[in-house]
């Protein structure tokens, strides 16, 4: 039977298609995220508003320009380690570090690469969602291979801290960050970057957007709002809602949203943003920096979606933090502390401001370009530690049928 030519021909067609796509996407080597236009409806001036106590850091550039001569750029392999990151100096060379990351690879691999280049440490990363990786840590207990856990938000590190799985960080390191991002006691974790919850909307479909999430139970938004209940940022928002407005108010809001046809079928913040941007969906609740991610891929000029940073204590404007902690096993690994120090160094912080468009936690560093300054954000006033009642939030969401 002479059919053997056929598969080869089909294979050749597939091969040509694959090569064409690869060539097209491998073209550039440019991973720089250009400064973006403000995605915010209200004009937010990109200049830093707070006076820097030590003006050694280059100001936030309103437009791309050649990198400063000081090699602060993350990813530059030749960059010498900043002072803060080398307590043990060259002795880190050849060490291995196992990181469990609740943050996704696209957002943090760059800073890990920079750390490896600066210290010679070999970092092994396990990626997943914060709850997934956090639950794995609970399952593994002290048998975990992980030295460091880097979470999407404070709630998950709080749960692990309460379970006794994290070790204490040096007090001077924790106190080097903005007090808002410090734990009140114990020093078992520390904030790394700040992010705001936002409402994303499509101005073509929604000419008069709401100012906060409390308005979204109005019938005019019936079936037009998407949430992602499985997302750590959304869960932190609900926790903040519970803390500031009370459990009953949070439950009533969720029930009213469900009654108002809130959409939960879209499975991630990024997909919600893409749906809004494509005109498929009117509104969604996401984190602010996703906008910059999609703008980097599609080009700022192709961004239709706009962001609202809810103000006046509206729970939808929660200002939350990613957070890092060292496991009990990691306490013996000098590379673990060095990694945390690197995240909190100027180099690490600048990476997040420029590449992921998150807010720095070190005082004196510039805010990401194109977003309201840290001090203009006016979300609910809460202590981030209060977010560690994450499990109660998950129980509430489960009970309402939003999680399982």
């Amino acid at each position: 039977m002479n059919t053997n030519r056929t598969p080869r021909r089909l294979g050749a067609v597939a091969l040509v298609a694959a090569l064409a796509l690869t060539a097209a996407a491998c073209g550039g080597d440019d991973d720089d995220v250009a400064a973006t236009d403000p995605p915010v409806a209200t004009d937010a001036t990109p200049e830093p508003t707070e006076p820097a106590p030590e003006p050694t850091q280059p100001d936030a550039e309103p437009e791309p320009e050649p990198e400063p001569t000081e090699p602060e750029t993350p990813g530059t392999t030749g960059a010498p380690a900043p002072d803060t990151t080398a307590p043990a100096g060259e002795s880190l060379e050849g060490l291995e570090l196992t990181l469990y990351s609740g943050r996704s690879e696209g957002l943090v691999q760059g800073v890990i690469d920079a750390f490896e280049a600066a210290t010679g440490v070999d970092v092994k990363v396990r990626y997943g969602s914060s709850a997934e990786v956090g639950a794995a840590l609970l399952e593994e207990g002290d048998r975990t291979p992980a030295d460091v856990f880097y979470s999407q938000e404070v709630g998950a590190v709080g749960v692990l801290a309460k379970a006794g799985l994290l070790s204490e960080l040096p007090a001077d390191l924790v106190s080097s960050v903005d007090p808002r991002f410090q734990p009140p006691a114990g020093n078992l974790w520390v904030g790394v970057t700040g992010r705001s919850r936002v409402i994303v909307y499509n101005p073509d479909l929604v000419p008069e957007p709401p100012a906060g999430v409390l308005e979204l139970t109005d019938p005019q938004w019936n079936g037009k709002v998407a949430i992602v209940p499985g997302n750590a940022g959304f869960q932190a928002f609900v926790t903040g809602f519970r803390v500031t407005h009370g459990d009953d108010a949070a439950r009533e809001w969720l029930e009213a949203m469900i009654a108002n046809g809130v959409r939960t079928d879209i499975s991630s913040n990024g997909n919600v943003l893409a749906a809004v941007n494509d005109g498929e969906l009117e509104l969604g609740l996401i984190n602010h920096y996703y906008w910059a991610g999609l703008a980097a891929e599609l080009g700022t000029e192709n961004m239709v979606a706009q962001l609202i940073f809810p103000k006046g204590g509206d729970p939808g404007g929660l200002f939350n933090a990613t957070a890092v902690g060292i496991t009990n096993g990691g306490a013996d690994n000098p590379a673990a502390l060095a990694f945390v120090e690197f995240l909190l160094s100027e180099e690490g912080q600048t990476y997040f401001v420029e590449e992921t468009h998150e807010y720095p936690v070190l005082p004196g560093l510039a805010d990401p370009v194109g977003y309201p300054g840290r001090d203009e954000l006016d979300g609910p006033a809460i202590d981030l530690t209060d977010l560690d009642s994450l499990e109660a939030t998950q129980a509430l969401l489960t009970e309402l049928g939003l999680l399982s």
Partner: protein
């Protein structure tokens, strides 16, 4: 003649075979036991709370409804397509025979992203069903095609001579001859639909598997997910029982080549060209929409990847899929031989559990192995063998089906002849059974290889740190909204699965001994 008249005395299975069957059974039972333990380790109150609520009923309805719709459509499409290319005068049927199997190479999430990007209104049941049917019907098409070509044309001829019309002959004689193949195929489709994550997630349709996955990802409390996992296993018992009742009966082996003449060709007449267009239209739709979407990703996006990243993931996918295929075939063989040669309680239970494994969501299999590995298999934890074990649990049934069919089609009479001439059982097995069933082993390995290459949820959870397959790279790029960078991985993934699919189909087309 398809039936040899004499009742064959079934000897007791060799002890090695029984041990192998039991071991396979135990491996697949591990995740099932795990979710049962996890579901109840906090008492029965959370179990009741999760089960007795309207939403759970909705999820079961969604899951069963989707599985039924996809199974029915896959039977119509798979049997119809196989009949067209095997029994009719369809123009260009030799090329179409191979092409019709190619959708097997399309990963569900690649198809899902493409269809919803092109036609957002398909979101929900329609879109999920469309994607799943379009990529899973080859599970029916391939075995039915093989069975049609092996089936003795003599019976159909007798029916024709007796005056039955061609279509009546098809339904009364031919379909009955290939019934075991249809049942085996549709069972795979139904169980696959129940455990499938990519298509329902991209198409935004809530099934048990999707909600189990979401619950595991979104919550520290794993009890609700485990309870829903148990429910899913219970739901899959229904098609398993039905399949055993309908599919197991009947012998299909032929001792000799049968009637030494060509199979009669059904004349399609005026339907030749419409059928031709329908066949090719199906292939074009399955591949053109995703291809168009990948081109759109590259044109709209500015992210990029490197050749090294793509070729590295390509190589990893190749070797890990090959290792998993070899391991799965090795573990499936005793079960398949038991089922084909020594039907009994042990073989029935082994096959049942293997098929139940196919219905387990990847995330459940992965988490049970994490749970087990951390406690009892420390050195293997987060190493390649655990990942391979997960693949074996999930895809064992694919291999069993293919090997069992091949062994069943080789007549036991030949083994009996060898034994009567003084060969020892092991020697009979090596010199007669394996060579006769060799194409079946090839098909089994290829089916598993394709499924492993496309697998995502378990791979994400269990891969050793630093191991990246095409599927995981594709996932992490799309997760980071780097669609242009994701496109080459999607294309390479389709390629990696397409070549074995073509080989597999050729194997199916080879004439039986």
């Amino acid at each position: 003649m398809t039936r040899t008249g004499l009742p064959v005395r079934r000897p007791r299975p060799p002890i090695a075979l029984s041990i192998g069957g039991l071991a396979a059974c135990a491996l697949v039972c591990l995740p099932i036991v795990y979710i049962a333990v996890r579901a109840t380790d906090r008492g029965w109150a959370p179990v009741r709370a999760t089960l007795w609520r309207p939403r759970t009923l909705d999820l079961v309805e969604n899951t069963v409804g989707l599985a039924l719709a996809v199974s029915l459509a896959a039977v119509v499409l798979g049997v119809g397509a196989a009949w067209l290319v095997a029994c009719t005068d369809l123009p260009g049927r030799r090329v179409l025979r191979v092409a019709l199997a190619m959708p097997l190479a399309m990963p569900s999430y690649v198809a899902g992203w493409a269809w919803i990007g092109w036609r957002p209104e398909l979101a929900g049941f329609r879109g999920a069903a469309l994607v799943l049917v379009s990529i899973s019907y080859p599970y029916v098409y391939l075995p039915v095609l093989g069975a049609l070509r092996r089936a003795d044309p003599g019976l159909a001829e007798v029916a024709r001579v007796a005056g039955r019309r061609p279509l009546t002959v098809f339904f009364t004689v031919t379909v009955r001859q290939v019934r075991p193949a249809i049942v085996a195929g549709v069972l795979l489709v139904g169980l696959y639909t129940m455990s499938e994550f990519g298509a329902v997630a991209t198409m935004r349709y809530e099934t048990l598997t999707r909600v189990i996955y979401q619950s595991y990802q979104a919550s520290f409390d794993r009890t609700p997910a485990a309870v829903l996992g148990c429910l899913l296993v219970a739901v899959t018992a229904v098609p398993l029982v039905l399949a055993v009742r309908w599919g197991a009966a009947g012998r299909v082996d032929r001792a000799g080549p049968g009637a030494a003449r060509r199979r009669p060709v059904v004349q399609l007449g005026a339907w030749r060209w419409p059928a031709f267009l329908a066949g090719w239209g199906l292939i074009v739709a399955v591949f053109a929409v995703p291809a168009g979407n990948l081109v759109r990703w590259v044109r709209r996006g500015s992210s990029s990847t490197t050749w090294g990243e793509v070729t590295g993931a390509f190589g990893t996918t190749l070797w890990i899929s090959a290792v998993a295929a070899a391991a799965t075939v090795a573990i499936a063989t005793p079960v398949a031989v038991l089922a084909a040669r020594h039907p009994g309680r042990l073989s029935t239970w082994s096959v049942w559990t293997a098929y139940a494994g196919h219905a387990l969501p990847g995330v459940v299999v992965a988490l049970s192995l994490v749970f087990f590995g951390v406690r009892y298999a420390g050195p293997l934890y987060q190493r390649t063998p655990m990942l391979v074990a997960a693949y074996v649990v999930m895809f064992l049934s694919l291999a069993i089906g293919a090997i069992q069919a091949a062994v069943a089609h080789s007549s036991p009479a030949l083994e009996q002849v060898a034994a009567s001439l003084g060969d020892r059982p092991v020697s009979v097995w090596r010199r007669v059974t394996v060579p006769l069933a060799l194409p079946g082993f090839g098909s089994a390995a290829t089916l598993v290889f394709i499924a492993v290459a496309k697998e995502l949820p378990a791979t994400l959870l269990l891969r050793p740190i630093g191991i990246d397959t095409l599927a995981t790279r594709l996932w992490s790029h799309t997760d980071a909204q780097q669609f242009a960078a994701a496109a080459p991985f999607a294309a390479a993934l389709v390629l990696v699965a397409a070549l074995p699919t073509a080989v597999l189909t050729r194997a199916q087309l080879e004439d039986p001994t």
